[in-house]
C-alpha cells in the first residue's frame, strides 16, 4: 500500500513514503528542520518560512519543506535520485534571513516573558539565527486582545504563525480567532473582541511558539528551569489524560499535557490544566470529629478511637468517590469485607455485573474513533464528559465519518446525520443500521448515565447485541477518573447503593462528594482531600491526599490502567489514602496483609493481574446472555449534563479559576438568549 520513494537527504540515500512532506521525511531520519507554523496535528500553513530547504535541480530558490511532498520531487536530468539538502550554504543563509526578519518586529523582552526558557523563537534564534541585528528602525507594536481568564496575550510578540487560529478552527471547532489585515498591520483577533469559549483553549498556550499567548493563572510565578517536573495522570475526567505537573517546593505551579496518541494526543482540557489552585484551597489538613454537633480538630488517634467505638456491634458499609486510586479502594474493600460490611462504588445505581468486564468498559478504545466510518453517540455529551475526546470525534467527522447522536440536546462541534432524543428512534436506527453497515465499521459511544437502572440494562444489551452481530466496537464513557477501576477491584455489592446506605449503621465515605448522604442515626466517616459536601455532614473526617500527592493506579473509560505519581506531599496531617486505611485496620485489629505500597500493589496484582500491565489495554470479549427480543426500548434518553462542567468534583469546586470560567460561561449563555 505504501508508495516508497528513494531520495537523497544531505547525500544519504533514504527510502520514504511519497505522501510525506520533506519535513516529515527528514524528521523520520533524524534530521531536525526548524519550524514555527508547522504543527503535526494542524493543517499546513507554510507562512513562517523557517523550514526552507534546498531542492537540488528544483527552482533555484529554497523551498518550504513543510508544504512540499516527497512525490513532487523530480529526478535529475539523467534519472538521478531527487536530492534535498538541509545543511547547505543556501539553507543556512535562508534560515538566517528568515530569522532576521522574524526578529525585526519581535520585542527584546525575553527577561520579562513567561515563555523565556521554553521558547521556540529563543531556541531557534540561538541555533539558526545571526548573532547580530542590522535593524535600526522603529519596531511595530500591536494592541493586546482580551481572550478571557486563561490565555494572556502580548500580541507584539506574535510572529503570525496562525497556529492558534488553526487550532481553534480545526481542533476546538469554534472559529473565534482569525488573522485580519495584511502585512505589517495584520493581527490575530477574536471576532468582536469576544473571549474564548472553548474548553480546550488552554492548549493555545502550548501551541504558541513565542510568548504571545501565555497562561494567565501561571503568569510571572516561575521560570521553567526552576520547576520540578513529574509525569502523572489526570483525574478530572475519565479519559486519563497524560500530564506533567510542574512544582516548585511544595507548590504546584502548572499542569501541561504529555503526548499520548492513544488517549489525549497532546491536548488537555482547561479543567485539567487550570485545576491546580483548587488543590491548595479548602483542604482537609487534620482529622476532625463531631462533638455536640460541631466539628473539632483532633489527633489521628482520637479519630481512630471514635471509629473503633462506633463500630462495636454495628454494621458498616462503604462507598467511594471517583477521584480515588485503586490502592485505597482495594484496601477499603478488604477492610470493610473483614468487618462483614458491604461496599459500593455505583452510587448512580448503574447495574453492571462485575463478572464480565465488557459490560462496563466496552470492547473498543478511544483510538477506534479514528478508524471507523460511522460513530453513534448514545446518551453522552462528549464535550461535557471530555473535551479532548470530543475533539477526536470531531476529527473523525472532518475526515468524513458519519456521526449520529442520541440524547439530550447539547451543543456539538460537528454535524450529525441523525439527532434524536428518544429510545424508540434509537431502536429503529439500530435495526436500520444492522442491515447496511459493513462489519467493523461502526463505533458506539455510550454514556454511563444511560445504562444505569433496569431500562439501561436493556439499552446496554441492545448495543452489545448490535456489536456482536456487526463485529463492531463500543465504548462506555464514565464520569469519573477511576469509575472503572472501582468496579474492576470489586468495590460492589449485590444489594445496590440505596439499600446499602439504608442498612448500614456506620458509613465509610471514601471521597464521595457529589451528593449529600442520608444521615439519620448513622455515623458518617469521610475520608478525602477537600472540605466539600462529603465532609460537611460527616462525624469523623480523615484527611487524605489529593491525586497529586500520592502514587496510584487509575483505570480510564476504555479500561486502561495507568499509574500516577506523587508530585508533592499532602498538606498538614493529611496522609496517603491507602496508609490511612492501613492504620485504621491495625487500630481495629485486622490484618490487611500489607505494610507498604509495594506489598499492597502485589496484593492487588495477585487478584487482578491485568492491573499490573499499566498503559496496556486488555481486550474484552462481548458476551450477551439476555434474550433482548422480548424487550423494547422506550422513553427518552436521560440528560447527562446535570451540573456545571467546571464543578464536577471537589477539587474543581474549590478552584477560583473554575468558578470564574463558570461565571463567564453562564453570562455568555444568558447573552445569547437575549440576542435570539
Amino acid at each position: 500500500m505504501e508508495d516508497l520513494k528513494k531520495i537523497l537527504i544531505n547525500g544519504n540515500e533514504v527510502e520514504v513514503e511519497s505522501s510525506l512532506t520533506i519535513l516529515q521525511a527528514c524528521e523520520q531520519h533524524g534530521i531536525e528542520i526548524p519550524r514555527f507554523c508547522y504543527h503535526e496535528r494542524l493543517s499546513i500553513a507554510g507562512n513562517c518560512r523557517m523550514c526552507l530547504v534546498e531542492v537540488v535541480g528544483g527552482p533555484p530558490k529554497p523551498a518550504a519543506s513543510c508544504a512540499l511532498q516527497v512525490k513532487d520531487l523530480r529526478p535529475g536530468r539523467n534519472g538521478e535520485m531527487p536530492e534535498v539538502k538541509t545543511n547547505s550554504k543556501m539553507v543556512r543563509q535562508a534560515r538566517e534571513g528568515v530569522m532576521e526578519f522574524l526578529l525585526i518586529n519581535h520585542p527584546l523582552d525575553c527577561p520579562i516573558c513567561d515563555q523565556g526558557g521554553e521558547c521556540d523563537l529563543q531556541d531557534q534564534a540561538m541555533a539558526y539565527g545571526l548573532d547580530f541585528s542590522r535593524y535600526q528602525e522603529s519596531k511595530r507594536s500591536v494592541e493586546d486582545i482580551n481572550l478571557g481568564p486563561l490565555v494572556k496575550t502580548s500580541m507584539t510578540r506574535c510572529i503570525s504563525c496562525t497556529r492558534c487560529v488553526r487550532f481553534m478552527t480545526e481542533v476546538a471547532g469554534v472559529s473565534e480567532l482569525g488573522q485580519t489585515g495584511r502585512g505589517e498591520d495584520s493581527e490575530i483577533i477574536s471576532y468582536l473582541g469576544a473571549s474564548l469559549s472553548s474548553e480546550l483553549q488552554g492548549n493555545l498556550i502550548d501551541l504558541c511558539p513565542v510568548g504571545a499567548l501565555t497562561s494567565k493563572p501561571y503568569a510571572f510565578t516561575a521560570r521553567p528551569w526552576e520547576l520540578d517536573k513529574t509525569e502523572t495522570i489526570d483525574v478530572m475526567d475519565s479519559l486519563g489524560s497524560n500530564i506533567r505537573i510542574d512544582s516548585k517546593g511544595s507548590r504546584i505551579m502548572r499542569i501541561t499535557p504529555i503526548n499520548n496518541d492513544e488517549i489525549n494526543e497532546e491536548w488537555i482540557s482547561d479543567k485539567t490544566r487550570f485545576i491546580w489552585d483548587g488543590l491548595s484551597r479548602q483542604r482537609l489538613d487534620s482529622p476532625y470529629i463531631r462533638v455536640k454537633g460541631k466539628l473539632i480538630k483532633c489527633s489521628w488517634n482520637d479519630a481512630f478511637c471514635t471509629i473503633k467505638e462506633a463500630l462495636k456491634g454495628k454494621k458498616i458499609g462503604a462507598i467511594c468517590g471517583e477521584l480515588q486510586p485503586i490502592e485505597s479502594i482495594f484496601a477499603l474493600r478488604n477492610l470493610v469485607g473483614s468487618l462483614g460490611g458491604k461496599t459500593e462504588c455505583r452510587i448512580d445505581g448503574a447495574l453492571f455485573w462485575n463478572k464480565n468486564r465488557c459490560d462496563y468498559v466496552g470492547n473498543g478504545s478511544f483510538a477506534d474513533i479514528d478508524k471507523c466510518r460511522t460513530i453513534t453517540i448514545i446518551g453522552c455529551d462528549p464535550n461535557f464528559q471530555s473535551p479532548v475526546l470530543n475533539s477526536r470525534v470531531r476529527r473523525a467527522w472532518l475526515r468524513g465519518a458519519e456521526i449520529n447522536y442520541f440524547g439530550d440536546k447539547c451543543e456539538l462541534s460537528f454535524e450529525t446525520i441523525c439527532n434524536e432524543s428518544s429510545l424508540e428512534k434509537l431502536n429503529k436506527f439500530l435495526i436500520k443500521k444492522d442491515k447496511v453497515i459493513n462489519d467493523g465499521d461502526h463505533l458506539i459511544i455510550l454514556g454511563r448515565e444511560n445504562i444505569s437502572g433496569e431500562s439501561g440494562k436493556i439499552l446496554l444489551e441492545k448495543v452489545k447485541n448490535f456489536c456482536i452481530n456487526k463485529n463492531s466496537k463500543f465504548i462506555i464513557i464514565h464520569s469519573g477518573a477511576n469509575s472503572v477501576g472501582a468496579i474492576d477491584v470489586g468495590f460492589t455489592s449485590d444489594v445496590g447503593c440505596q439499600k446499602l446506605l439504608e442498612s448500614s449503621d456506620v458509613i465509610f465515605n471514601l471521597g464521595f462528594d457529589e451528593m449529600e448522604l442520608p444521615k439519620k442515626d448513622k455515623l458518617l466517616i469521610y475520608q478525602g482531600s477537600h472540605g466539600d459536601v462529603g465532609a460537611a455532614n460527616a462525624d469523623v473526617i480523615l484527611p487524605g491526599a489529593a491525586y497529586t500527592e500520592e502514587s496510584g493506579i487509575f483505570v480510564n473509560s476504555e479500561g486502561r490502567p495507568q499509574m500516577s505519581n506523587r508530585v508533592i506531599f499532602p498538606p498538614g496531617d493529611a496522609k496517603e489514602n491507602w496508609a490511612i486505611i492501613r492504620a485504621l485496620s491495625s487500630e481495629l485489629g485486622i490484618d490487611l496483609n500489607f505494610n507498604n505500597l509495594v506489598d499492597l500493589r502485589n496484593e492487588i496484582y495477585k487478584e487482578y493481574g491485568f492491573l499490573s500491565e499499566t498503559n496496556n489495554l486488555q481486550e474484552n470479549q462481548i458476551k450477551s446472555d439476555l434474550d433482548i427480543s422480548k424487550f423494547q426500548l422506550k422513553g427518552e434518553i436521560k440528560a447527562v449534563v446535570t451540573k456545571s462542567y467546571f464543578f464536577t468534583n471537589p477539587i474543581a469546586r474549590a478552584s477560583e479559576t473554575m468558578a470564574e470560567l463558570d461565571k463567564l460561561k453562564s453570562t455568555k449563555q444568558k447573552k445569547n438568549v437575549i440576542s435570539v
Binding site: 472559529s175 485580519t180 471576532y191
Partner: protein, 228 residues
C-alpha cells in the same frame, strides 16, 4: 493601514431583492460545499449597495455563505478596496497616485480633495456626502491624471477641472465620465493620427454605458448628467 471593524455600526443589513438574486447566481458557480468561494464578489456587492462593509453585513454574508463571520472579516480586512468604515453618501473619490498620474499632477488633485472634502483620506466630509482616498494605478495611464468615482473614470483632469467636478457633485449634479478635455479615449492629445474616421459615436463605450444609466453608481439618484 490598520483595518478594524468600525466602532459605529448600523442596526442591520439586508440585500435588496435584485442583489440577493445576483448573489445566489454567483454562489451557483461553485460546487456544493464550496460556497465560501463566492465571498469576494458578494462582499463587493455589499459595498456597491451600502458604500461600505459593515458588521451586520459581514454577519449576513457569513450566513449566506455558511462561513464563520471571522473568516469573512479576514477577507474584508485584507483587501483595501473593501471599506470597513462609512464612505461619502454621494461619492467616494479614488484618486490615482501612481507614477503616470503623479507626474501629470495627481498631487494637485489630492490637494483639491483635502480642501473640498476632508483633510484625511477615508474620512467623510462634514456633511457626510463625500470622502476620498489615494489608490494604486487605475490602469488608465494614457489619460492621466484620473480619478475613479464608483464605476466611472474621470480622465485628463487638471486641478481646475477636478475642482469644478467636485463642486458639481456638491450641487447634486452628475458629471459626464470619460475624458474631461474632449478626447474620445486614449488617442494623442492633438487628434487621432491613425484609424481616422472610424469613430462615429461621440463617446466611447464605457461612457455610453454610464450615460445610459445602466451601470453607474449614480443610478440611485437618476439625475441628468452635466458637463463640468
Amino acid at each position: 493601514m490598520l483595518r478594524r471593524i468600525h466602532p459605529i455600526q448600523p442596526n442591520g443589513f439586508k440585500f435588496s431583492a435584485t442583489n440577493m438574486k445576483w448573489a445566489k447566481e454567483k454562489i451557483k458557480k461553485y460546487p456544493p460545499g464550496r460556497k465560501a468561494s463566492a465571498v469576494i464578489p458578494i462582499l463587493w456587492k455589499v459595498q456597491e449597495q451600502e458604500g461600505w462593509v459593515s458588521r451586520p453585513a459581514i454577519d449576513c454574508v457569513a450566513k449566506i455563505l455558511e462561513m464563520d463571520p471571522i473568516r469573512v472579516l479576514e477577507v474584508a480586512s485584507f483587501y483595501f478596496m473593501f471599506h470597513l468604515s462609512p464612505m461619502g453618501d454621494v461619492a467616494h473619490i479614488q484618486v490615482c497616485g501612481t507614477t503616470s498620474c503623479m507626474l501629470s499632477g495627481s498631487e494637485d488633485l489630492i490637494k483639491v480633495c483635502k480642501e473640498e472634502i476632508s483633510q484625511e483620506p477615508h474620512s467623510r466630509s462634514s456633511d457626510g456626502k463625500f470622502s476620498w482616498e489615494e489608490v494604486e494605478c487605475l490602469g488608465a495611464c494614457a489619460n492621466a491624471p484620473i480619478v475613479q468615482i464608483g464605476k466611472d473614470y474621470f480622465e485628463d483632469l487638471s486641478e481646475k477641472k477636478f475642482r469644478g467636478l467636485v463642486k458639481l457633485l456638491k450641487r447634486g449634479k452628475i458629471p459626464v465620465p470619460g475624458s474631461q478635455v474632449g478626447r474620445f479615449s486614449c488617442e494623442p492629445g492633438n487628434g487621432q493620427k491613425s484609424l481616422q474616421g472610424k469613430n462615429k459615436e461621440k463617446n466611447n463605450a464605457s461612457v455610453q454605458l454610464a450615460l445610459r444609466g445602466k451601470d453607474t453608481v449614480f443610478k440611485k439618484n437618476k439625475l441628468k448628467f452635466n458637463s463640468v
